[in-house]
Amino acid sequence: MSVLASASPTFPVLPALILTPLFGALLVVLGPRRRPELLKLTAVLATVATGALSLWVLLAFDAGGEGFQFASRHAWIGELGISWLFGVDGISLFLIVLTGILFPIAILATDPGHDSRAYYAWMLVLEGGVMGVFASLDLVMFFLCFEIVLVPMYFLIGRWGHGNRTYAATKFFLYTMAGSALMLVGIVSLAFLHADATGGALTFDLVAIAEAQSIATETARWLFLAFALAFAVKVPIFPLHTWLPDAHTEAPTAGSVILAGVLLKLGTYGFLRFGLYLFPEATHHFAPVFLVLGVVGIVYGAVVATMQKDLKRLVAYSSVAHLGFIILGTFALNTEGIEGGLLQMVNHGISTGALFLLVGMIYERRRTRQIDELGGLQKSAPLLAGVFMVVMLSSIGLPGLNGFVGEFLVLVGTFNAHRWYAVVAAGGVVLAALYLLWAYQRVFHGPAEGDNADMPDLCLREGLVLAPLLALIVVLGVYPKPVIERMEPAVDALVEHIERHVDGFEEPTSRMGIDISPDGPLDGPADSEEGH
């Protein structure tokens, strides 16, 4: 590990993370049209290579290190002070790894059915864009990657999706593009105001602008809102969420996995990196709004999910609820909450990604996602049912599985900061158990009739695809310490940054005496509750 760490500065690993999938996309485009299996192999190799690179970043990452690691900078438009500026800290590290892991799985899990060349090319472009978002430390670069992600996702939903795909794809594109329209104005205004205030040259360097905090309070609040709108659409936060169920439901399985696993995190990551860090005062000022919206999202998502007849739509609405937790944790503005939110991002990516894979597998066998038409699958496909149950329990937040750790930390953080929000949100956890268990019961229990009776079980390939996700679900649930350890310095620095720049703000710390430091008792309860 130390060898790798010392070697890292010489090899620009972050640009490589972005360029490897793009290079793979180029290979796929130039590849033979009539040999889809060859194209798939190329795509898998490219994503596996990217995944390996991301794991290498994880291993080489200096756990105790402050600030951004693996930083690299190249001028892009020198005249405007825009540069290719990349770096990783504890906040973005695990999202990069999550991206690296989910993409090969998504590509391996399903075949597009037609136009494979374009499909794999778009998937790889998508991966490059997502990596770019998580690694960029230049505001314009971030915006570029944030926006370019739309194009491949648009085509993936629109060309390989289900019934109402055109509508869903267009809605997705327009919502997100309209949301981020003002962010560009915000970014440019911020850079100009920063340059005016400091008298320096025009720069879009995130760290320089955030550390200087040179913007007047009132202006910063407006700018924050411009950013927040873009992120809120992407997350999506409650009133702006209507694109999500459509996009999720109509997207092909791999598209849903990536959409839920990674793309939604662009918004929550944006809040952390560009909301809290750039505009600490404005974040603090507007936090109550987002806390309310987060709680509303949790309850609303859960209630609506309960009423869904379509299994995939149910999972989609459960995402709205889970992302409400992440927003809640983020705007609790303390270490526990933010760490919980971060963990929840990763956990949601894993468990919801796996849920979408499973729903996709059921759909491939039964050609339906209507809960009414399914039933008793436990008998015909016990393995599938077992995996589904584990993943579902993780999504509910059962102690011992990964979902618990994140949700628990979020609730602790919120409780310390704003007690009543936490109380309401905890109700959301109960609702999650309700809709997921009920859905599980209707789909897998009961008598199996007709096609449900002889549905084939998981095949080897599907098992192999799901295995790493299951492993992560268990490992992160039992032993989250390494992850928290690496997040902690970055999150602490962020909270300190907020404390430093917001008058009269002090981190709402633990009043319950729960110690969540890596050496604390958190591992204990998790271990002991594994048997439940």
């Binding site: 055109t166 509508y167 169920p245």
Partner: protein, 159 residues
């Protein structure tokens, strides 16, 4: 400041007065003895033998336009001839460029048969040889009728 325009205004008023006065005077003073020849349209003193044709061949206009080309050329040549000593080489070059442009348009007109007279059938043939068989007559309100209705947008139905 506007005072300097007073003579112009006065002249305008005088001209208008004179015109009005002439009409009124002739109406009042002239003897009124109408007969056929006096009431007929004036055509250089000749009694018109038939109705004036409704259309002229377009070639007449072409000739008139070609004439205008030369007309304009003369308008520019004349002052140049007067001043050519004073403006020297610069003027010469300028007038050369100008006449090249003028003659070039003349060459184009001749080359396209603008001065070709003869049986109408032959001319028509020549035109269709050059511009293809059917040439439409211009009309208005043909463009934009189709495609202007806000019909079927691609997105249909709700979620």
């Amino acid at each position: 400041m506007l005072g300097q325009y007073l003579p112009v205004v006065a002249l305008l008023v005088l001209a208008a007065l004179f015109a009005a006065l002439s009409f009124v005077a002739s109406r009042l003073l002239a003897p009124r003895r109408p007969h056929d020849r006096k009431l007929a349209p004036y055509e250089c003193g000749i009694i018109p033998s038939r109705e004036t044709p409704e259309r002229f061949p377009v070639r007449f206009y072409l000739v008139a336009m070609i004439f205008i080309v030369f007309d304009i050329e003369i308008i520019f040549f004349y002052p140049w001839a007067v001043a050519h000593r004073g403006i020297g080489l610069f003027g010469l070059v300028a007038v050369l460029i100008f006449s090249v442009a003028v003659f070039e348009s003349f060459v184009y007109l001749i080359g396209n048969g603008a001065l070709e007279w003869g049986p109408i059938a032959e001319v028509r043939q020549a035109v269709s040889r050059r511009f293809g068989s059917e040439v439409v007559r211009p009309g208005v309100r043909q463009v934009g009728l189709e495609g202007r209705d806000a019909g079927n947008p691609t997105i249909e139905g709700g979620p």
